[in-house]
């Protein structure tokens, strides 16, 4: 019996006549049978081990990856025309919210309008775009039950390192225990001027608030504290250098302002 056939038996890839031949061989060779059975258990264990990875929501930064992203690297001359055409197609598809809907993970369980606004990042480069995008991102992800965040607070070190790398800035999620909120986790989102980190917090009653940290603010001019109301979501926001911060929650303005002050103080450079 050759080893390649035994391996194929493990994976159930033998034609029926060879399968029967190997079965007979194994019936007479208990040691070999035990070895191959262990390999079959390996297959099952590997699938079980990485099962959750397959079910995890794909980061939006990956799903929304466009071929005209600056980091896409050099391409061959022949590739360019198809590439450009696809970029145009993608822009249309993203604008229409088709990708989120079809793929079923980016904006699960949300209205297409909110999804299109978020994915397209179509808002103009005015400071007012920041609270709007933050409020949309808040509305999209806070109702999530199964996957509100991509990386949970139990992996805080990984979460912070990953988001910091993508935004090009050392991030520190504020500690809001005094205000009654604990960090749930975070996710990476596409923004119109660069990647965006969203940190999510929840209090004991399940009330969620999100801190939206956006890179590449073009105004490059600091603003004071501002407040915007988007539907039932209140947003405190400010711009600090090239970074925009927005704290969103469906709570009263007064309560939100107290939390926003705590966040602001903790984010100040030491």
């Amino acid at each position: 019996m050759n080893e390649a056939e035994l391996q194929a038996w493990v994976d159930g890839r033998l034609p029926p006549d060879r399968q029967a031949a190997v079965d007979r061989y194994l019936a007479e060779n208990p040691a070999e049978a035990a070895r191959l059975q262990a390999y079959r258990e390996q297959n099952a264990a590997l699938l079980a081990l990485f099962d959750d990875t397959l079910d995890a929501p794909v980061p939006d930064a990956l799903a929304a990856r466009r071929p005209d992203a600056p980091s896409a690297g050099p391409t061959g001359g022949a590739a360019v025309p198809a590439w450009r055409r696809m970029a145009a197609m993608l822009a249309v598809a993203i604008g229409a919210g088709v990708i989120g809907g079809a793929a079923g993970w980016t904006l699960r369980g949300t209205g297409t309008d909110a999804g299109a606004g978020l994915a397209a990042g179509a808002a103009a480069q005015s400071p007012a775009a920041l609270p709007r995008q933050a409020a949309i991102a808040h509305a999209v992800y806070t109702p999530e039950v199964k996957h509100p965040v991509e990386v949970g607070a139990d992996q805080q070190q990984h979460l912070v390192a990953w988001l910091s790398k993508r935004l090009g800035k050392q991030l520190r999620p504020p500690q809001l225990a005094k205000q009654g909120y604990e960090l749930v986790g975070g996710r990476l989102l596409p923004g119109d001027s660069g990647p965006v980190a969203q940190f999510m917090y929840a209090d004991a009653s399940g009330q969620r608030l999100t801190l939206y940290v956006s890179s590449g603010q073009k105004q490059n001019r600091d603003t004071g504290f501002r407040f915007a109301q988007e539907g039932n979501v209140g947003v405190f926001y400010w711009i600090d250098g090239s970074f925009g911060y927005a704290l969103s929650a469906a709570v009263g303005k007064k309560e939100l302002s107290q939390i926003a002050n705590a966040v602001y103080e903790q984010l100040l450079p030491n």
């Binding site: 890839r13 794909v58 061959g76 990708i99 990984h158």
Partner: protein, 165 residues
């Protein structure tokens, strides 16, 4: 082209799972997937529409991973018999031990095993994806499984392994 994009998106969960199993940590895996998707987009014109998009993307990921290993090989040392656990683990297939053992396999064996066991790829497709002969796929598969079995049983592996500290 729209269809290609959707098909590529559909491959993402599998690419992530494979990257996670290959690299052993989530941050490296996400970076590897990101790089794979970017290179895939940049070279999409080279993909033949009648080809297997998944195998093509896995091939790209394989090449990127090899490049990374060449650029910055992980700190490693020869595995000595004395380093192996004296007693077998209590559970025969504890998943945490399995992941640790998996990362102790040489990358070439790990890749073949994951494509077969996790991706359930046909051996011919594994050979095409990794650009190696079918016979090499089968011998690496056999060695990977036996090494993993021995590591899980607390026995010395059949061949010298590299251990990542």
């Amino acid at each position: 082209m729209q269809e290609v994009h959707e098909r590529l998106l559909a491959c993402l969960p599998r690419l992530r799972r494979y990257a996670r199993a290959l690299t052993g940590d989530s941050a490296s895996a996400d970076d590897l997937v990101q790089d794979t998707v970017e290179r895939g987009w940049a070279r999409i014109a080279q993909w033949r529409p009648d080809g297997d998009l998944r195998a093509w993307l896995f091939g790209i990921m394989h090449n990127l991973h090899i490049d990374q290993l060449r650029r910055s090989p992980p700190p490693s040392m020869e595995l000595d018999d004395a380093d192996l656990p004296a007693a077998p683990p209590t559970a025969t297939l504890d998943l945490r031990d399995l992941e640790h053992a998996l990362q102790q396999l040489p990358a070439a064996q790990r890749e073949v095993l994951l494509l077969v066991a996790l991706e359930e790829m046909r051996y011919e497709d594994v050979a095409a994806t990794l650009d190696i002969p079918l016979g090499t796929v089968m011998s690496r598969l056999s060695r990977a499984r036996e090494n993993l079995r021995r590591l899980m049983a607390g026995q010395p592996p059949a061949a010298t392994l590299k251990v990542v500290k």
